[in-house]
Subunit: 79 residues, 2 copies
Protein backbone atom coordinates (compact mmCIF):
# COMPACT_ATOMS: atom_id res chain seq x y z
CA UNK A 1 0.00 0.00 0.00
CA UNK A 2 0.98 3.59 -0.51
CA UNK A 3 1.05 6.51 1.89
CA UNK A 4 2.05 10.12 1.46
CA UNK A 5 3.68 12.76 3.61
CA UNK A 6 3.46 16.34 2.36
CA UNK A 7 6.10 18.62 3.86
CA UNK A 8 5.59 22.37 3.64
CA UNK A 9 7.54 25.33 4.95
CA UNK A 10 5.68 26.96 7.84
CA UNK A 11 3.69 29.97 6.66
CA UNK A 12 5.87 32.36 8.66
CA UNK A 13 9.05 31.05 7.00
CA UNK A 14 10.24 32.78 3.82
CA UNK A 15 10.26 30.59 0.71
CA UNK A 16 12.93 31.86 -1.73
CA UNK A 17 12.25 28.98 -4.15
CA UNK A 18 8.56 29.83 -4.22
CA UNK A 19 9.33 33.52 -4.70
CA UNK A 20 11.65 32.68 -7.61
CA UNK A 21 8.92 30.57 -9.24
CA UNK A 22 6.41 33.38 -8.71
CA UNK A 23 8.71 35.95 -10.37
CA UNK A 24 9.54 33.59 -13.23
CA UNK A 25 5.83 32.98 -13.89
CA UNK A 26 5.36 36.77 -14.06
CA UNK A 27 8.22 37.10 -16.55
CA UNK A 28 6.69 34.32 -18.67
CA UNK A 29 3.50 36.38 -18.90
CA UNK A 30 1.30 34.59 -16.37
CA UNK A 31 -0.75 37.24 -14.60
CA UNK A 32 -2.70 37.02 -11.37
CA UNK A 33 -0.18 34.98 -9.39
CA UNK A 34 -0.22 36.27 -5.81
CA UNK A 35 2.25 33.86 -4.35
CA UNK A 36 3.87 30.46 -4.70
CA UNK A 37 5.05 28.02 -2.04
CA UNK A 38 7.09 24.96 -2.91
CA UNK A 39 7.03 21.89 -0.70
CA UNK A 40 8.00 18.24 -0.82
CA UNK A 41 5.79 15.23 -1.36
CA UNK A 42 7.18 11.96 -0.02
CA UNK A 43 5.39 8.88 -1.35
CA UNK A 44 6.11 5.73 0.63
CA UNK A 45 5.33 2.25 -0.67
CA UNK A 46 4.79 -0.14 2.23
CA UNK A 47 4.94 -3.93 2.21
CA UNK A 48 1.90 -4.74 4.29
CA UNK A 49 -1.64 -3.53 4.45
CA UNK A 50 -1.98 -1.91 7.83
CA UNK A 51 -4.64 -0.35 9.96
CA UNK A 52 -4.93 3.26 8.78
CA UNK A 53 -4.72 4.76 12.25
CA UNK A 54 -1.56 2.80 13.11
CA UNK A 55 -0.06 3.62 9.72
CA UNK A 56 -0.75 7.34 10.12
CA UNK A 57 0.92 7.23 13.53
CA UNK A 58 3.95 5.46 12.02
CA UNK A 59 4.18 8.06 9.25
CA UNK A 60 3.98 10.89 11.77
CA UNK A 61 6.93 9.33 13.61
CA UNK A 62 8.85 9.06 10.31
CA UNK A 63 8.12 12.72 9.61
CA UNK A 64 9.18 13.80 13.10
CA UNK A 65 12.40 11.79 12.96
CA UNK A 66 13.48 12.21 9.35
CA UNK A 67 11.20 13.69 6.72
CA UNK A 68 10.48 17.16 8.09
CA UNK A 69 12.53 19.77 9.92
CA UNK A 70 10.19 20.74 12.77
CA UNK A 71 11.87 24.13 13.18
CA UNK A 72 10.79 25.42 9.78
CA UNK A 73 8.43 22.82 8.32
CA UNK A 74 4.97 21.41 8.91
CA UNK A 75 3.79 18.12 7.51
CA UNK A 76 0.56 16.42 6.56
CA UNK A 77 0.09 12.65 6.50
CA UNK A 78 -2.25 11.12 3.90
CA UNK A 79 -3.03 7.38 4.16
CA UNK B 1 -8.00 30.95 -4.82
CA UNK B 2 -5.42 28.23 -4.51
CA UNK B 3 -4.25 25.63 -6.97
CA UNK B 4 -1.64 22.91 -6.77
CA UNK B 5 0.78 21.28 -9.17
CA UNK B 6 2.40 18.04 -7.99
CA UNK B 7 5.61 17.22 -9.85
CA UNK B 8 6.94 13.67 -9.67
CA UNK B 9 9.89 11.94 -11.29
CA UNK B 10 8.69 9.56 -13.99
CA UNK B 11 8.48 6.00 -12.69
CA UNK B 12 11.28 4.84 -14.98
CA UNK B 13 13.65 7.54 -13.66
CA UNK B 14 15.86 6.66 -10.68
CA UNK B 15 15.21 8.70 -7.54
CA UNK B 16 18.42 8.88 -5.46
CA UNK B 17 16.76 11.18 -2.90
CA UNK B 18 13.92 8.70 -2.42
CA UNK B 19 16.39 5.82 -2.15
CA UNK B 20 18.35 7.72 0.50
CA UNK B 21 15.16 8.35 2.49
CA UNK B 22 14.23 4.68 2.16
CA UNK B 23 17.63 3.53 3.48
CA UNK B 24 17.56 6.10 6.29
CA UNK B 25 14.11 4.91 7.38
CA UNK B 26 15.48 1.35 7.51
CA UNK B 27 18.43 2.48 9.65
CA UNK B 28 16.03 4.26 12.00
CA UNK B 29 14.23 0.96 12.52
CA UNK B 30 11.16 1.44 10.32
CA UNK B 31 10.41 -1.90 8.72
CA UNK B 32 8.23 -2.72 5.74
CA UNK B 33 9.26 0.21 3.55
CA UNK B 34 9.43 -1.07 -0.04
CA UNK B 35 10.31 2.19 -1.70
CA UNK B 36 10.18 5.96 -1.44
CA UNK B 37 9.77 8.59 -4.14
CA UNK B 38 10.22 12.28 -3.43
CA UNK B 39 8.48 14.91 -5.53
CA UNK B 40 7.64 18.58 -5.41
CA UNK B 41 4.37 20.22 -4.54
CA UNK B 42 3.89 23.72 -5.94
CA UNK B 43 1.04 25.65 -4.34
CA UNK B 44 -0.04 28.70 -6.29
CA UNK B 45 -2.17 31.45 -4.81
CA UNK B 46 -4.11 33.24 -7.55
CA UNK B 47 -5.74 36.66 -7.46
CA UNK B 48 -9.02 35.91 -9.17
CA UNK B 49 -11.59 33.20 -8.96
CA UNK B 50 -11.53 31.48 -12.33
CA UNK B 51 -13.36 28.79 -14.17
CA UNK B 52 -11.79 25.51 -13.05
CA UNK B 53 -11.31 24.17 -16.57
CA UNK B 54 -9.55 27.34 -17.72
CA UNK B 55 -7.47 27.42 -14.55
CA UNK B 56 -6.38 23.80 -14.97
CA UNK B 57 -5.35 24.58 -18.54
CA UNK B 58 -3.34 27.60 -17.34
CA UNK B 59 -1.61 25.49 -14.69
CA UNK B 60 -0.75 22.82 -17.25
CA UNK B 61 0.89 25.52 -19.37
CA UNK B 62 2.82 26.75 -16.30
CA UNK B 63 3.97 23.20 -15.62
CA UNK B 64 5.00 22.65 -19.24
CA UNK B 65 6.90 25.94 -19.42
CA UNK B 66 8.45 26.17 -15.97
CA UNK B 67 7.45 23.88 -13.14
CA UNK B 68 8.28 20.44 -14.51
CA UNK B 69 11.09 19.04 -16.61
CA UNK B 70 9.18 17.01 -19.22
CA UNK B 71 12.19 14.79 -19.91
CA UNK B 72 12.24 13.24 -16.44
CA UNK B 73 9.12 14.47 -14.66
CA UNK B 74 5.35 14.09 -14.81
CA UNK B 75 2.94 16.48 -13.20
CA UNK B 76 -0.58 16.50 -11.84
CA UNK B 77 -2.75 19.61 -11.63
CA UNK B 78 -5.21 19.95 -8.74
CA UNK B 79 -7.67 22.88 -8.80
Amino acid sequence: MKATVVVRLKTEVLDPQGDAVSRALGKLGFTGVKGVRVGKIVEIELEHEADKTALAEKLRTMADELLANPVIEDYEVIV
